[in-house]
Symmetry: D2
Amino acid sequence: MSSSDLDTLTRRLREFADARDWEQFHSPKNLTMALSVEVAEIVEHFQWLSEAQSNDLPEQTLDKVAAELADTLLYLVRLADKLDIDLLDAARRKIEINEQKYPVEKSRGNAKKYTDLE
Amino acid sequence: MSSSDLDTLTRRLREFADARDWEQFHSPKNLTMALSVEVAEIVEHFQWLSEAQSNDLPEQTLDKVAAELADTLLYLVRLADKLDIDLLDAARRKIEINEQKYPVEKSRGNAKKYTDLE
Amino acid sequence: MSSSDLDTLTRRLREFADARDWEQFHSPKNLTMALSVEVAEIVEHFQWLSEAQSNDLPEQTLDKVAAELADTLLYLVRLADKLDIDLLDAARRKIEINEQKYPVEKSRGNAKKYTDLE
Amino acid sequence: MSSSDLDTLTRRLREFADARDWEQFHSPKNLTMALSVEVAEIVEHFQWLSEAQSNDLPEQTLDKVAAELADTLLYLVRLADKLDIDLLDAARRKIEINEQKYPVEKSRGNAKKYTDLE
C-alpha cells in the first residue's frame, strides 16, 4: 500500500472540508493562493535571521515554525487531492529525475551547478 | 511505524544532498526561500485561470503542476529534516486543532468564518 | 528630474533605516524575503474571494489592502536602493520591451498568448 | 502634482492592457497572484547566496534582477489602479506610522524589536 500516510491525511482533510461545506472554496486556484500564504508565514520567521541563526531556533519559535510547516503540508495535500495528483509518486519520480540531472561527480560542492537546479 | 513514507523521502533527500556536498547550501533560511520559489511556480500555472478552469486542467499542464507539487514537497521535507521537525506528527496535531477551532455546526458553508481560518 | 517621487521615498527609507541602525538587517537577500512576506499579506485578503468579489472589496478591507500595498512598495524601493537599481527607469524599459513582445494585433484578447507573458 | 511618476506608469499600463483587451484577466485576485510570482522570480536569484554575496551581484545577474524588480513594480501599480488605491499616498502614510511605531531611541540596532516590525 503506497503513500499510506499521505493517503490518510488526504482522507481526513476531505472529510473536514466536506463536513463544513467548504469544498466550494477549495478550487485549485484558491488553494494555491492559500499554500503560498502559509509558506510566507514560514519565511516570516526567517527573514531577519542569519543562516547560522536559522539553524538554531529558540524552542518557542521552532514550535510556531512546526505549525506553519504543518499548514503548508495540509494545503499541499488538499491541492494534490483536488487535482487528483499522487503526491508521493510525483515526489519519487522527481528525485529520480534529479539524480540523473545532477550526477554526483559533476555536482559535488558546486554552487554554480547548484544554482541551476531549479 | 509512523510517518514511514515521509521518513523514506527524508532519508533519500539527506543522502542526495550529502553525496553532492550540498548540505552547505541547505540552511533553513535558504530552504524557506527555495520552498517559496517552488510554490510560486505552482501559482504561475493558475494566475490567469478562472476557478472553473483551475478544476479542469489540460493533461500537459497537469503533468507540469504535478512536478511543481513534487518539488514543493521535497523542499518541505528537507526543511523539516534540517529543523528536526516531525512533519506528519505536526500535521496530525494541526488537524486536531482545526477540528476544535472550526466546529461543524458553526462553520458550515460560512465564508466569513472561513476567511478567519488562518 | 526623473523619478522624483520614488527618489524621495528612497531617501526617507534610507534615513529611517540609518537612524535605527537597521542597515545591518537590510541585505538584499533579507529584503527579498521581507518583500515576499508583504506580498503574501496582500494575497491573504484575496485567497477565498471570487474574482468578482475581488473587484468590490468592503471599505475596511480596502484600507487594510492599501496598507499592504504600501508595505510592498516600501520594501521594493528599499531593495532597489540597496542594489543601486533605478526602479522607475527599469520599469519604463520593461514596458517598452512588453510593447514589442506583445504587439496589439496578435495579443488582442488572447488568453493563450497572455499566459505566456511571463 | 503628487505621485506624477507613478501616475504616468499607471496610465501607460492601463492603455497597454486596454489596447490588448487584457482587462478581462486583470481582476485584483489574478493580479495579486501575478505579483507574487514576480517577487518569487526575484527571490530565486538570492535563494542560495549568502547575505554578503547578495550585496555584490555580478553585473549580468543585476540586470536580470532589475528586470524582475520592474515587473514587480508594474504589477503593483496595476493592482493599485484596479483597486483605486493611491499607492504613493499609502506609502507616505505608512512611513509616518512606522516612524511613530519605531521611535529611534527604542529601536536602535534592536533586532528583537525589528523582528516585530511587521
